[in-house]
């Protein structure tokens, strides 16, 4: 089994074309701004007509060195406990060194930034999974990483901060003193807890302030989804049988999409997976797929990026705190949003307690402590397995491990 040679671009197989990104009518063009902040190759990938985008050899090698293909395992322990003859398989993205699927796009994004002569990549992070992946990718490829981490997480997820620094990154709590937006926020409220939206704004502003910097985003955009399809491309080779049900959790939608799109694409082209159901699981803290509107909205709270058409709760929606900080996001990737809208993908939201209970069951039966985000997929797999007939087959994506989520497991029963 080899690391795939291609990423899969589902846009060219969708039932409808994706509406293009648009600018708001007032102020400057955000589309024009993209050119200054993002690596150029990523912009090309956002609009590529190719169904299969070749993975550059250097990236394939790094994928391999970091542990791709990741394991595709059968959950024998969990199956035994459920005891009704449903076969459950999972893809384990937590096997990557930064602990989650985020490295799949961090590596190519940093790689393409360097192709544009960047000396530094700048990003934001909430829980720290994305920041950690970017820090590692930057270390591997030899550029500096600067990460704006929401202050609340910065103070609570101290291990991730430590490990980002171990990889050589500069990590700042956001709001910070480095940008005018940060200074204003601190002035208005000295104990500001930070927000992902503000961290994005600071990261973009910081990128524009210096020479040789590129900004890179962690989810939602088309090229992020594209890179994550390395997961599903591997599954196509690893799976011993066709699934009845495919499950993933959704923050911005990149791991669910990366896992499932190669299978959904085959179905859209009438090349298999006819009977497969696809289920996207979100947190009740940010239920855009189940209660959002399908409309043009900003991907970032600050409204610096162009608007995209997606299922959204509104870019100024502030999700309540949850252990699954990576799912606290107001919108979902446009391609995934459209597939939910069209009924190709089903959606469901779970609350925190039931999810953490599923996480503990999984830890005790499979040995892996899952990330609270990924545990949403586990919860759905358990619920569905209980309802499905004997002999049914479930695949889910275990997008990360939870070994650094001390706060989530802190009061384990």
């Amino acid at each position: 089994m080899n690391v795939p040679h291609y990423w899969y671009n589902i846009n060219v197989d969708l039932l409808r074309p994706l509406p293009p990104p648009i600018d708001p009518y007032e102020a400057d063009s955000r589309i024009a701004l993209l050119m200054r902040i993002l690596p150029s190759e990523l912009l090309d990938q956002e609009f590529t007509p190719l169904r299969y985008v070749p993975i550059p050899e250097e990236i394939r090698e790094l994928y391999e060195r970091m542990g791709r293909p990741t394991p595709f395992k059968r959950a024998y322990g969990l199956e035994r406990v459920l005891g009704n003859g449903v076969r459950i398989y999972y893809k384990f993205e937590g096997a990557l060194p930064a602990g989650s699927h985020k490295l799949n796009t961090a590596i190519p994004q940093v790689y393409y930034a360097i192709k544009d002569n960047a000396k530094e990549v700048v990003t934001e992070t909430g829980a720290g999974q994305w920041g950690l992946a970017v820090s590692l990718a930057a270390a591997l490829l030899g550029v500096k990483a600067t990460v704006f981490m929401t202050r609340n997480s910065y103070l609570n997820k101290t291990q991730r901060v430590l490990f980002m620094r171990t990889y050589g990154a500069d990590v700042y709590p956001s709001p910070s003193e480095l940008t005018k937006y940060g200074r204003e926020a601190i002035k208005a409220r000295p104990d500001h807890p930070g927000s992902l939206g503000l961290a994005i704004t600071e990261a973009i502003d910081f990128t524009l302030m210096g020479e040789g910097r590129k900004y890179i985003p962690g989810s939602v955009l088309g090229f992020v989804v594209l890179h994550q399809t390395v997961i599903g491309q591997e599954v196509l080779q690893q799976m011993p049988e066709e699934p009845d049900l495919v499950i993933g959790c959704v923050g911005g939608g990149s791991n669910f999409s990366g896992f499932s799109f190669p299978m959904i694409g085959a179905r859209l082209r009438n090349e298999g997976f006819e009977k497969t159901r696809f289920l996207a699981v979100e947190s009740k803290a940010a239920p855009k797929l189940t209660s959002g509107r399908y409309t043009y909205d900003f991907p970032d709270t600050g409204g610096l990026l162009p608007m995209v058409k997606m299922l959204t709760l509104g870019h100024d929606y502030v999700p309540p705190p949850t252990h699954a900080a990576g799912l606290r996001y107001h919108g979902a990737a446009p391609s995934l949003s459209m597939l939910v809208k069209e009924g190709v993908v089903e959606a469901r939201a779970y609350g925190q307690e039931e999810v953490m209970e599923a996480a503990r069951l999984f830890a005790r039966t499979e040995g892996i402590i899952p990330a609270p985000e990924s545990a949403h997929a586990i919860k759905a797999a358990i619920d569905e397995a209980r309802r499905m007939p004997k002999g049914s087959v479930i695949f889910f994506n275990l997008s990360g491990h939870g070994l650094l989520d001390v706060d989530a497991y802190g009061n384990t029963r």
Partner: protein, 239 residues
């Protein structure tokens, strides 16, 4: 009326900046272009970049009243409007277009936002002896493009970038080549941010049959000489 290949078309927004200048501009542009694209001014030019957006907001008249001020047909003329303004009036737009001498009405948002109106749109065009035309982007689903080809449109228009006038670092040559494979021998027109003879050459060389120039023309519209000179210089990029 067929579009001449290879060809160059000029985009203008109807009655921008005023009725008189607009009429002068289309008279002059008809001499130096193979076809015209005339924008129906709207309050919601959502896929247009800042420059063309301004022309919509600043035009003297709005909607179909604005396109009605001229008689077209010296060269093939295509009206361009947003279908969301006319979802329930497709027949009316087709009638106005036909009476004004246009060859088609191009709706850039038809496939993206109102795919359910596809058949109705094609019927409206045919009912008024017009040909359908379609707007696609580089990543429009392949199967949909195959469907469009079967309607035998006057042309398929490929928007090279996300919005008019805003260049992004995309491999447009490759994109045109890929789309060319999908559209068979239907006339393929490309546009958005074309402003030099070199770019005309590259786009035609990659497989487009014709190009449209809009944003780069806007500041020259008031001056017929400058306008004609610019179009002629772009023609230098044609084979």
């Amino acid at each position: 009326m067929e579009i001449r290949k290879p060809g160059i078309g000029a985009y203008v927004t109807a009655t921008y900046p005023n009725k008189n200048d607009f009429l002068n501009a289309i008279r002059c542009l008809s001499e130096v272009s193979d076809f015209l694209e005339v924008g129906i001014p709207t309050n919601n030019p959502k896929y247009d970049g800042p420059v063309i957006r301004k022309t919509h907001f600043a035009s003297e008249l709005k909607g179909l009243d604005a396109v009605n001020v001229a008689k077209y047909g010296k060269v093939p003329t295509i009206l361009m409007g947003y279908v969301e303004d006319y979802v329930n009036n497709l027949e009316l737009v087709a009638k106005v277009a036909s009476e004004a001498g246009a060859s088609s009405v191009l709706f850039p948002d038809l496939l993206f936002e109102h795919l359910d109106k596809l058949e109705e749109y094609v019927m409206a065009m045919r009912n008024h002896s017009l040909r359908p035309t379609f707007f696609i982007s580089s990543n429009t689903p392949h199967r949909l493009v195959n469907v469009l080809v079967r309607y035998e449109p006057l042309f398929i228009y490929l928007g090279l970038y996300a919005a008019t006038g805003i260049k992004l670092p995309l491999y447009i040559e490759r994109n045109i080549k890929e789309v060319r494979k999908l559209v068979d021998n239907i006339t393929l027109i490309a546009g958005f941010a074309i402003n030099t003879p070199e770019m005309v050459k590259l786009v035609i060389g990659a497989g487009a049959d014709a190009v449209v120039v809009g944003t780069a023309l806007v500041d020259k519209l008031a001056n017929p000489m400058a306008c004609a000179e610019f179009m002629l210089s772009l023609r230098g990029g044609l084979p």
